[in-house]
């Protein structure tokens, strides 16, 4: 068995996990406010190509990340406008956003097809720590955004459960009428977190582009990670800390087929393994659509329901 391949795989799994953590955190903040944004995949793609174009034109990956996140927030604001201001069906609005985002990304990406960025986000090195066998490259061989994503999840958990705005956010997702009765604006809270969530997803998409694939290959860039992120939120029971573990697990599952192929282990067809994350996604989305199982999973009570104040 080639030890290096497994090290490499672990590194790659954590890399995929980074995008998943950021996208899932984005979806989590959105959903905690009671808005279901199924358009994550579309936002991921559009922010990826936007960050690529920005980084390519300016030569700065950091500008790329900023542009990608802003585009993410911008696209999410469309969803916020439709589902909060116009009280549209959030599932339909979200799916529309996927289609819109995919189309927009492919259009913007036409001239960039097959190109690679000149500068990419480089992994950090921690001197001798990074040279420790196996653990070194996995734990100390990631780039700053990966560490940031993990830190963000920890901060998000503290924010949700032990701060005043976190309390208000959770209340908005569970029981908007109560929040409204307290004189807080449900619409403002929902729009704010939907856009913030979009920015996080955008950061994930940009990072995927600028640190991972480093080249634009249409839909192959995200490969359905947006959908997996949505499933991950359910899997994590809308708790940020669990997203870290879930993301690593999904990351490994996504990476496993390649490793097994490289190791020439063929008793499990690789197509079957490749299918697993999507199967998990399918199952969680079905679970999410049934009221009974939704409650069991701990979904915000008002998830996907527009808020209308009942006037007497």
């Amino acid at each position: 068995m080639n030890e290096n391949i497994w090290v490499l795989m672990s590194g790659d799994a954590i890399a995929i996990a980074t995008t998943l953590i950021l996208a899932a955190l984005g979806a989590l903040f959105t959903e905690r406010s009671g808005v279901l944004n199924l358009g994550i995949e579309g936002i991921l793609l559009t922010s990826a190509i936007s960050s690529f174009l920005a980084a390519d034109a300016s030569g700065s990956v950091w500008l790329g990340l900023i542009v990608g996140s802003s585009i993410g927030a911008l696209l999410a604001s469309i969803h916020a406008a439709l589902s909060v201001a116009f009280r549209a069906n959030q599932i339909v609005a979200g799916l529309a956003l996927v289609i819109f985002g995919t189309g927009l990304a492919n259009f913007l990406g036409k001239p960039a097809e097959g190109k690679t960025v000149a500068t990419v986000i480089k992994p950090l090195t921690f001197g001798p720590l990074s040279d420790i066998p196996i653990i070194g490259p996995i734990v100390f061989g990631q780039d700053i955004i990966t560490y940031l994503a993990i830190a963000l999840a920890i901060v998000a958990s503290r924010y949700l459960f032990s701060t005043r705005p976190g309390l208000e956010l959770r209340a908005t997702g569970d029981d908007p009428a109560t929040v409204d009765a307290q004189g807080l604006s449900v619409a403002r809270i929902r729009i704010r977190y939907t856009m913030f969530g979009g920015a996080l997803v955008g950061l994930g998409g940009s990072w995927l582009m600028l640190a991972q694939s480093a080249g634009w290959h249409q839909a192959a860039t995200t490969n359905g990670l947006g959908w997996i992120a949505l499933a991950l939120v359910v899997f994590a029971g809308w708790r940020p800390m669990r997203i870290i573990f879930g993301a690593v697990l999904f990351g490994f599952t996504l990476q496993l087929p390649f490793t097994l192929q490289a190791e020439q282990i063929t008793f499990i067809p690789s197509a079957f393994l490749e299918m697993l994350p999507y199967l998990a996604t399918l199952i969680t989305l079905i679970a999410l659509s049934r009221p009974g199982s939704r409650n069991l999973l701990g979904a915000p009570r008002a998830l996907g329901t527009p808020f209308v104040r009942d006037e007497r």
């Binding site: 032990s162 701060t163 005043r164 705005p165 309390l167 208000e168 959770r170 209340a171 569970d174 029981d175 009428a177 109560t178 929040v179 009765a181 307290q182 004189g183 807080l184 009974g292 009570r301 007497r312």
Partner: protein, 520 residues
């Protein structure tokens, strides 16, 4: 943390003596499209007293309360707080002046703990929350007004009475000096009402003012220092002094004429068994909603089901109506087994059903009275409006329905009139002659006049030999109308007693789950 709320509490302690006016409304006008909900209403509440707003539904008491707490802005008139003119642009501003409303429908997040709910919306909290600090404060406030409650309990696990307590503690935590209680007893069992009244006394003793909103005359007489009666948006009377008001006079002020609230239980002989329920059980999502229910209703008999909302009433009535298939057991209506055979079969053998949700399940809001009547008439391919129209007109007259005629849309009817249309349809027969009438909360949300009519109609139907199953959360209604009273608690019948000799305390205890005896 809640420094400001404590300051508010102290400040008003200094400025308000026992008799000074804490809040007053001066000739308030509030218009809604087509209605003058408040017509130059004057109202005031002093520190340390309970001042009740009494009126029928639609009399304008909720509108006035909404103006008092800042939810609505008056079209004319103004408010003064401790003699100074104030302008409440929102409930939040109202709260800053120490005015808080405890809504009839609780505004609590079920998944949150008690203290999380209490602090939600408080603006003067720091960014980071110190839980033990907050818990201590919440417990201290609760304790000082005799409202003991565990700050770490999840609200979803609490009883209705306890949730109401959380709402009151929340208002006090936010620094409320004047509490508006909107029909607070509507959801409580008698023992909880008693406890609430103790809390109210503890609050008034501490100098708080209570504005009590109700249409239940008995409790109004018991709790109020003063009563202001509203009718059609106008003040029709004031009564001062605890215990001096009498229910008859208040009822007259409320309705504008003498009213007979206690419908007489008709004396009559009961006939054969019409509804027979045997060992009925229903399990939904592994939760037992009904467990082993057996009882029967005879012709000319009214059986009342008492119980706090959510103890299986809805499931029981829907099962009898054939809308739900029970897990086990049987329903037999006038000799025909209707279990599992759907609502049409049940109606064919003589069931009439007045569901709780009038405009949702009972009537089609976007259709006319005529078309709603047609729903239960013979099913033909072509709708025959012409032949039913005279009957519709006759029913409108007979049931005193205030409408422009058979083409009046159901959704444009008031609650009382919608209920009368529903009763008219169900009582006037459909596919078969009505033998069994199942009515759920028939007078909920109706004004006193309509309540009187509906109860009379039910009594008439019973005298005409129909078997009636009355399912209602209004205990007084069940006790005053029924020949037999059954108490439903957690899906089981825990108490049975003849209506005539029913004891309020016993039935109330059974409703709260304290029944010692099983079904007799």
């Amino acid at each position: 943390m809640s420094n400001t709320s404590h300051e508010v509490a102290q400040r008003s302690h200094h400025t308000s003596g026992a008799t000074s006016t804490a809040l007053s409304a001066h000739s308030i006008d509030k218009k809604f499209p087509g209605v003058l909900a408040n017509d130059s209403v004057d109202f005031d509440v002093r520190a340390g007293e309970v001042h009740t707003l009494l009126g029928e539904n639609g009399a304008g008491k909720s509108t006035l309360a909404a103006v008092l707490c800042g939810l609505y802005q008056p079209d004319a008139g103004y408010l003064t707080r401790n003699g100074k003119r104030i302008n409440l642009s929102s409930p939040r501003v109202g709260l800053q002046h120490g005015i808080a409303m405890v809504h009839q429908h609780f505004r609590l997040v079920e998944r949150f703990t008690v203290s999380e709910n209490v602090i939600l919306g408080s603006r003067d909290l720091p960014f980071r929350l110190n839980r033990s600090d907050i818990n201590e404060k919440v417990a201290a406030i609760a304790e000082s007004y005799g409202l003991p409650i565990d700050p770490d309990a999840t609200v979803g696990d609490l009883s209705v009475g306890q949730r109401q307590r959380v709402e009151i503690v929340k208002a006090l935590y936010q620094g409320a000096e004047i509490l508006l209680l909107d029909e607070p007893t509507a959801v409580l069992v008698p023992s909880e009402v008693e406890k609430l009244f103790e809390n109210v006394h503890a609050m008034t003793a501490a100098g708080k003012s209570i504005v009590f909103i109700s249409h239940k005359l008995g409790e109004v007489v018991e709790i109020s220092d003063r009563v202001t009666v509203l009718r059609n948006g106008r003040v029709t009377g004031h009564v001062s002094g605890r215990g001096t008001a009498n229910t008859k006079e208040l009822a007259r002020l409320m309705v504008g004429r003498d009213i007979e609230l206690n419908a007489q239980r008709a004396t009559h002989a009961t006939g054969h068994e019409v509804l027979q329920i045997r060992n009925l059980s229903l399990v939904v999502n592994e939760v037992s909603m009904l467990s082993d229910i057996s009882f029967s209703v005879h012709a000319g008999e009214m059986v009342g089901i008492a119980g706090v909302a959510g103890n299986g009433q809805r499931e029981l009535s829907d099962t009898i109506a054939g809308l739900i298939s029970p897990t086990s057991g049987s329903v037999t209506i006038s000799g025909s087994m209707t279990t599992d055979r759907g609502p049409i079969k049940a109606r064919e053998v003589g069931l009439a059903y007045v569901p709780e949700d009038r405009l949702g399940m009972g009537l089609v809001p976007s259709m006319s009275i005529l078309d709603n009547l047609l729903l239960t008439r013979d099913r033909q391919l072509v709708v025959d409006r012409v032949s039913v129209r005279p009957e519709a007109a006759r029913l409108i007259e007979q049931f005193e329905i205030k409408a422009n005629g058979p083409d009046h849309l159901a959704r444009k009817l008031s609650g009382g009139n919608a209920q009368k249309v529903l009763l008219a349809r169900e009582l006037s027969g459909g596919r078969g002659a009505t033998k069994l009438l199942v009515v759920c909360s028939p007078t909920r949300g109706l004004d006193v006049g309509a309540i009187e009519t509906v109860r009379r109609l039910l009594n008439d139907a019973r005298s005409a030999g129909q078997a009636i199953l009355l399912i209602s959360e209004d205990l007084d209604e069940v006790l005053s109308l029924s020949d037999r009273v059954l108490v439903l608690y957690r899906g089981a019948i825990v108490h049975e007693t003849p209506g005539e000799t029913a004891q309020l305390s016993q039935v109330g205890a059974a409703m709260a789950g304290l029944a010692s005896e099983g079904p007799s």
